[in-house]
Structure formats: C-alpha cells, structure tokens
C-alpha cells in the first residue's frame, strides 16, 4: 500500500519538469481540439500523436498520448453541447441533454457539468487503475497459452456483441480483423501467408496505419458523404462548474464512474458504450426520468462521467493482460510496444513502477482537461467555425503523414487507404469497426495461444476446456454467443414466454 503511494509520488515528481509540464498542456490542448472536431476521433488523435512522438523518450511519449486520449474524450462534449454533433462517438450520449440545455441558454452550465463529470470520472477510473492493476497483474501471471487464447477470443466476441446493433455483424467484423492479422510471416516457421510474393505483405499490416485508415480515413469519407450544415452556436453562460451540480448528483457520478471503469476493463468495448450504459443506468435510477433527453443535468453528468472513467479502465487490461479495453487503448498499446514497454502479465515483475507512472500521467491529463475546460471555450468555438472543406483535406494530410512516418514506407499509406475504404464500406453496411480493430490487435495473441497450447498438449484440445480459468472463459463465450445468435435466442424467449 505505502510502497504504491511512494511509487506514485515518485512518478508525479518525475513529470514536474518544465518540458513535461509543457507537453502536458500542449497534448491536452491537441486532444481537446481533436475531440471537439467532428470527424476526428480519439483513436485517430492518439495514432497521429504516436507518429509525432516516435523519437521521444518513452515516458514523455506515453505522457503525450495519454493526455491526448483523455483530452479527446473530453473535447467531444463541446461540439455535442454546442452543435448537437458528437465530436467523438463517446459523446453521442451527451448530445441528448447537453444540446437541449444549450438551446435553453444553459450551454455554459452544460459545459461546466461536462467538465466536472469528465474530471471526476477520470479520477474514479484512475483510482481503480491504481488499485486493480497490481491485483490483476498478479492474477494474470497464472495465465498460460490456453487462457490467453480464450481471453483474446472473449475480447473479440464481447466487442462484436456490444459495439454495434447486430452481434452477428460484429463477430464477422472481428473475424475479418483476426484474418488480417494472419497476413505475413507466421511465428513458428516464418512461412509467408497470403503475401502472394509481395515483400511488403510478408511483413504484415502495421497497427497504426490500419487504425488511421479504419478510424480516420473512413470517418473522412463518411463526413464527405454528409451534407455540410451551417454552424450555429447558441449564446452561453458561465462555463465554471457549479459545486451544487456535483454535490446534488454525487450518486450519479459514483455510479457512472464505476460503470465506465468496468466497461473500460471489458476488452474492446470502449467509451461510447460506457457513456450510453451510464446514461441508461442514470435514467433508470432517476426520480425524474421524463426529463432525460430534454435537458437533464443528471443525464449529461452520467454520460460525461461514464465515458471519461472508461479511459483509465481501458488501460487496466492493456497493462495487465496486453489486451486493449478500447480502440484508442489499442493504439496506446501499440505505442508502448514501439517505445520498448511490454504491456502484459510480466509488467508487474519487469517494471512495477510503470503502472504508477501511467496513473500519474492520467492525473496530469485530468488537470489538463480541467484547465482547458475552464478557459478554452471561445477558442474552441472558433475552431468549430472553420468550414468542413478546409478541415477535411488537412485531416487527410495528417492521415497520410501519420501512416508513413512510423516506418517510412509508402506501403503503409496504401494500407491506410485500404483499411479506410474497408471501414467505410463496413460502416455503410452497419458493421461495427471496433471489433475489426480488436481482431487485428488480438489475432496474433489468439493464434500464438492456440498453436502454443496445441504444442504443449501434443495436439489435444482437452486442456483448452478443462483448465479452470479456461473453462470459465469458454463457458462465458458460449453463453454470450448462444444468447445473441439468431435462432438460439428465440427458443429462450419462447420458453420464457410459455
């Protein structure tokens, strides 16, 4: 306990130099602007900043990325409140009540609620990040190849089930991601799979260009397809959060913080599901549910607390299991690997203080959004007024540069274009993109677990089903699939109805 606090104190102190503090302010600002601009997501922001920070020392680079991530999730609330357009998918729930408040002339108060909810949500998630990571890290040491196989599969199944409207399409998207992870040299015999003689394909797809494509370029294509609407900003009052809003809705804050953190821990689910789940829970618990959607402070507080609490939550499985809790956390994990940090079960053995470094980074990111929450409103409004034809080509230039800069290969630019088109087509056909990305990230881990498991058991599948943790995981997967699979769900319903 005290060792943890001392390590946390050391971590905070290590970032108290002018350069780090400058980076915190700059990257939080970049994050908030990225989040506020519709069409730019937190995933893309973290991916772009990964390329920008590639030459930095690892701790400073990760500090920048975490501040960008937290800032972007928070920044989305500004356009949700002011324009009724969510800056990021995580802020979609905030549109419902945030914009209604703005239309009533209470945009400033709504922004204050978003700031206090986001700050407190991040702090709650941060607390659990510090508390759970060492515990889960020690538990994860018991995981072997069999458990990692099931855990990775569980991640893709859960992401497929929860991130879209149609679990079947979510699972298909996840499988496409898993398939794309098989392209290139495999791990045991270095055999080239699906490379068709191309040296570039033999190296496989890098995660950052694929993510920039699936989340950046695909979003651009969606934005181009939709007609530009003139930006109209309602007049607003003071943006300084009111203490009364916090004390009156403390139950909502705690509940949403817990829900957000828990959903963050679930692999691949992400901030948008956290916001909607917190919103739904607040509506169920509210004495005035009829106010939800008409400018409810409770609803806005729940959505904003939930999505920001999800950020530290999503980092918990990254650090302990090497499995991302959300799409931006997947990029963060890729950035950790690029910078020589190996997230996963060994982190508490190899670099136990790193966990507290991440908690400290999260604390500084929270301070960053608090500062910008109080001061940045007018600047953000100016940014939001920039017309779409000016913003879109600039974002595309960043997509191209961001894809190229990691390995200086034009092939990565083509990968970005390919995944962008794939992401666009999938979205148009109502397939969620998050499972695709999680499949790409976890495909390698899943295959390694499967093949290593088979080697260890001399080809027997029995240990995959009989080891205790494996059994819990596969039974959960079967239940989730059984409940959601068409044709299986209906008999359950029929039996209940009978």
């Amino acid at each position: 306990m005290f060792d943890g606090l001392i390590a946390f104190g050391h971590s905070i102190w290590s970032f108290c130099d002018p350069l780090s503090l400058g980076l915190i302010l700059l990257s939080s600002l970049v994050g908030v602007i990225i989040g506020a601009l519709p069409g730019l997501t937190a995933t893309m922001g973290v991916a772009l900043m990964t390329t920008l920070t590639i030459k930095m020392p690892s701790n400073q680079a990760l500090l920048v990325l975490i501040c960008t991530y937290v800032g972007a999730i928070y920044g989305g609330s500004r356009s949700a409140i002011l324009l009724n357009i969510p800056g990021t998918p995580a802020s979609a729930a905030s549109c419902l009540d945030g914009h209604q408040l703005a239309k009533q002339g209470l945009a400033g108060r709504a922004m204050g609620i978003a700031t206090s909810g986001s700050v407190l949500g991040t702090l709650i998630g941060m607390f659990f990040l510090a508390l759970f990571t060492p515990i889960l890290g020690n538990l994860a040491l018991k995981f072997g190849a069999f458990e990692f196989f099931w855990l990775a599969l569980f991640g893709v199944i859960i992401a497929g089930t929860l991130t879209g409207n149609d679990p079947l399409k979510g699972w298909i998207a996840g499988l496409v991601g898993i398939f794309s992870a098989t392209i290139g040299q495999e791990g045991i015999y270095a055999y080239d799979r699906f490379s068709f003689g191309s040296r570039d394909l033999a190296g496989g797809f890098q995660l950052v260009p694929a993510l920039v494509g699936a989340f950046g370029f695909a979003e651009l294509l969606m934005a181009v397809r939709e007609k530009a609407v003139p930006v109209k900003i309602n007049p607003f009052d003071s943006v300084i959060p009111k203490l009364k809003d916090v004390t009156q809705y403390w139950r909502t804050i705690v509940r949403s913080g817990l829900i957000g953190t828990f959903i963050g821990i679930l692999p691949g689910v992400g901030e948008d599901v956290a916001a909607w789940s917190s919103y739904a829970a607040a509506k169920r618990a509210s004495k005035e549910p009829e106010k939800f959607g008409k400018g409810s402070i409770d609803g806005l507080m729940a959505a904003e607390t939930g999505d920001n609490a999800c950020v530290p939550g999503a980092i918990i499985p990254v650090l302990t299991l090497g499995i991302p809790g959300s799409a931006p956390a997947a990029v963060l994990m890729a950035a950790m690997l690029i910078h020589g940090v190996r997230p996963g079960p060994m982190i508490m053995v190899e670099a136990p203080t790193f966990v507290y470094d991440v908690v400290a980074m999260m604390l500084f990111a929270t301070i960053g959004i608090l500062i910008y929450g109080l001061t940045l409103t007018n600047v953000l409004i100016k940014v939001l007024m920039v017309p779409k034809p000016v913003i879109l080509p600039i974002i595309f230039v960043l997509c191209v540069v961001g894809s190229y800069a990691i390995s200086q290969r034009l092939f990565d630019v083509y990968v970005m274009l390919g995944f962008g088109v794939l992401g666009y087509v999938l979205r148009r056909l109502q397939y969620p993109v998050a499972p695709l990305v999680l499949g790409m990230v976890l495909g390698d881990l899943m295959e390694k677990g499967f093949r290593r498991g088979l080697v260890l058991s001399d080809g027997s599948l029995e240990p995959f089903f009989t080891r205790p943790i494996s059994a819990v995981l596969w039974i959960t997967i079967v239940l989730v699939v059984a409940v959601k699979l068409p044709g299986v769900r209906n008999p359950f319903k029929r039996r209940r109805a009978a």
Partner: protein, 173 residues
C-alpha cells in the same frame, strides 16, 4: 414486425452474407494449399495454414448464418424493408470528387518525387477551392476564394513540415 426492420435491408444482408461465405471459403482453400512444413518436423497442429483455415471456416459459417437470417427476415418483411435513412447527403458527384482527390494525393502527389510541401499545397488548395467554389461564385468572389485556398494549402504544408520534420524529427514522404 416493426422491430424486425433494421437500418440494413435483408437484400443487403444477403449480399454481404454471400460475400463472407465466398471470402471465408477462399481463405480455407488458400490455407489448405499452404506448405505443411513437414520437412521441418511440423505436425498437423503446427502447420502454418491451420489457424487461418479455421478463421476462414468460421467466417464462412457466420456468413452462412447471415444469409439464412436475411432469407428468414425477407419472408416476413420483404427484401427491401429497412429503417428509412434521413441523413442529409451531399451530391454523389461531391463524394466522388473528394474521394478522387484523396486518392490522387496519397497515390501520386506524395512519395513520387514531388516535394512534400508542393504536393500538399496542390492537394489542400485544390480541395478547398473546388469545394468552396459554388459558394464563392454565388458571392462573386472566385478570385478571393482562390487566394484563400492557396493560403490554406501553403500554410498546411508549412505547418506540417515544421512540426513533423523540424520539431519532432519525423521524416515526411
């Protein structure tokens, strides 16, 4: 029946399902044809094609489930029933033009010998000019629009070059 209607019609789902069945089957065939590496002591469970083959098989199966589901839904609600899409779309020509500009920039203007700053200036200026042209023409300010577009392109190229190359030492295409 109302909750049977999804944003995607049964016909679209059927088409998607058929694509996944075909794609998954192709992956299975290609995986089956992969070297089994028996000369290096590989067994059936360590062959390189085993895992992608399984992935392809499950993908084809789920595609088949999608085909069946869309068929059953179509029997109840018809092939083209879908939640009406009330999104206000830009004209198809605008989408095609923007997509063409994106691809021209990524495939031809960068990394093909043209300096990055020049390619970026051309792309951003062309994009801004073309997409603001209708409004500028209505305002009788086409020349002003061209100057603004050129300024946007030049400033973007300058800022990206300075930030990436000079400040963070990241190489540009």
């Amino acid at each position: 029946m109302a909750n049977e209607i999804h944003p995607s019609s049964p016909r679209r789902d059927l088409q998607g399902g058929i694509v996944w069945v075909l794609f998954g089957s192709l992956v299975v065939v290609l995986s089956w044809q992969m070297d089994r590496m028996t000369s290096q002591g590989a067994t059936a469970h360590t062959a390189p094609g085993l895992w992608p083959g399984l992935v392809g098989l499950v993908l084809a199966l789920l595609g088949g489930v999608l085909v069946l589901r869309s068929w059953r839904r179509a029997q109840r609600i018809g092939w083209d029933a879908a939640v009406p899409d009330d999104t206000d779309y830009a004209p198809t020509s605008s989408f095609a033009l923007a997509t063409a500009l994106f691809f021209v920039y990524a495939l031809l203007l960068v990394g093909r010998g043209l300096p990055f700053w020049l390619g970026t200036t051309i792309f951003v200026s062309a994009f801004v000019f073309l997409f603001q042209h209708v409004r500028r023409r209505a305002e009788d300010a086409v020349a002003r629009g061209a100057i603004v577009a050129l300024a946007c392109g030049g400033l973007t190229a300058l800022a990206v070059t300075l930030v990436f190359e000079q400040l963070f030492y990241v190489r540009l295409p």
